[in-house]
Amino acid sequence: MPKKFEIRLSGSGGQGLILAGIILADASLLQGINAIQSQSYGPEARGGASKAEVIISETEINYPKVQKCDMLLCLTQKSYDQYIASLKNDGILIVDDSIELRGANGFKVYSLPILKTAVDDMKRPMVANIISLGVISKVLDIVTEDNILKAVLKRVPPGTDYIT
Amino acid sequence: MGAPKMVVVNKEWCKGCGICVAFCPKNVLELINGVVDIARPEDCIKCGQCELRCPDFAIYLKEVPENVQ
């Protein structure tokens, strides 16, 4: 892995992206890799845009905020438009397939039916975050799927509705 | 009784809470993709219940010039 890997998860409130960020960070720790998770926090979080950030690194992480993303996840058009500029030129872009990719040149793009899967297959729009994590773990070969699963189970005990 | 009225929606403002849908006495309204839709305008009795309780000023009765109607 590179010295430091910066990930931004973006979408709208209620999609559980902050929890996804926490799980990702947790999984990194399980793997013995340093991680810092942070989020956008504001009145806009209320139903509006939502943003979670995770930095993972094998060495000490000082500045805790993402400066340029190595990986960007966007679940809404609005978040895509807002954050696409923060993705590194050779960065990884994961988007819901409902999003129109305006000017996404040079990125490794994964456009997948994340929201649809959440609604159709799981009947719960709130699990888009867990589905996203699955995608991320596949794409990102730093944190193992196994550790992500462990972290999910730790934070989302069976039967819980705490997927905010 | 004043000019005739019809129910209209400001889809930009509707947040899809479903309150107007639930309290419409004539089941005129529906939510489609999280936004209200005047599904059965013909059943509307212009009671104004939807307008009264929409938290977002997104649905209301509008006077329609007689000839337009």
Binding site: P43, G47 | K15, G18, I19, V21, P55, D56, F57, Y60
Partner: protein, 273 residues
């Protein structure tokens, strides 16, 4: 006036849609307040809306009058200054249960005691919405809040009772469901030359609803319909009132107003000169 016209006339349309969550009762209450203002044909230039801090207190920013969004809990204290310094202004305070009865409780009882001509509309959603769902002084006992994870052991205020005991000369309660009655109460409150207190029961589906499994916005609105009964009906048919909360006009006994009393001193001193 329909909503669209009302919005054009009395709202800062460019600020809408408001920040409140889908189904939040606050929008309905704000709407009712503005309808009352419209019904009374008040001069908008003379209206001053004062609010504190909270989701509810954001209302002032949307309303096209002289608006004052103050510090948490202090709306009534600012409003008292505005009214004293210029008694010709029609002062309304829009506030939340936390804003007016937690941190602002003292200003509420003192404004009521003075019987200063301010109409206060408390958006009561039984929770601190803005900060994410902590219990408030009106959260029912045993309900949950983020700071009451094992159920609330506090006893809630009856805000109307409190305002009345403190000296308010007009007191009423209604809910976002009964938006027309709410409008009438606000109208009467404004008409009362003195301190008027109207509890507008609102709903917070996002925090109170979710924390307490009260269902979605629609279900909460149903509760605002079913759990309340008008005091006049309850008086006639007490059997209907069982396990319901009273609403309606509770108190309406005008007394001499504060700034008018002060004016008398000014007049007296002028005569003596």
């Amino acid at each position: 006036m329909n909503t669209s016209a009302l919005v054009k006339e009395y709202f800062r349309e460019e600020k809408l849609p408001h920040i409140w969550c889908p189904g939040c009762g606050h929008g309905i209450v704000m709407h009712a307040v503005v309808r009352a203002i419209d019904n009374l044909k008040l001069d908008p230039e003379k209206i001053c809306i004062v609010s504190g801090i909270g989701c509810s207190s954001r209302a002032s920013g949307y309303m096209n009058f002289n608006t004052l969004h103050t510090t948490h809990g202090r709306a009534l204290a600012f409003a008292t200054g505005v009214k004293m310094a210029n008694p010709s202004l029609e002062v309304l305070v829009l506030t939340g249960d936390g804003d007016c009865s937690a941190i602002g409780g003292n200003h509420l009882i003192h404004a009521a005691r003075r019987n200063i001509d301010i109409t206060t509309i408390a958006f009561n959603n039984n929770i601190y919405g803005m900060t994410g769902g902590q219990y408030s002084p009106t959260t029912p006992t045993d309900s949950y809040g983020t700071t009451a994870p094992y159920g609330n052991i506090d006893k809630p205020f009856d805000l109307c009772n409190l305002a009345k005991a403190a000296g308010a000369t007009y007191v009423g309660r209604s809910t976002a469901y009964y938006a027309k009655q709410l409008t009438t109460l606000v109208e009467n409150g404004i008409k009362n030359k003195g301190f008027s207190f109207i509890e507008a029961v609102s709903s917070c589906p996002t925090y109170y609803g979710r924390k307490n499994k009260k269902g979605d916005a629609v279900e909460m609105m149903k509760s605002l319909k079913d759990d309340y009964i008008d005091i006049k009906i309850a008086e006639k048919k007490p059997e209907l009132a069982e396990s319901k909360i009273l609403m309606g006009e509770f108190y309406n006994k005008p007394e001499e107003e504060y700034t008018e009393k002060y004016q008398k001193i000014i007049d007296l001193l002028k005569k003596e000169q």
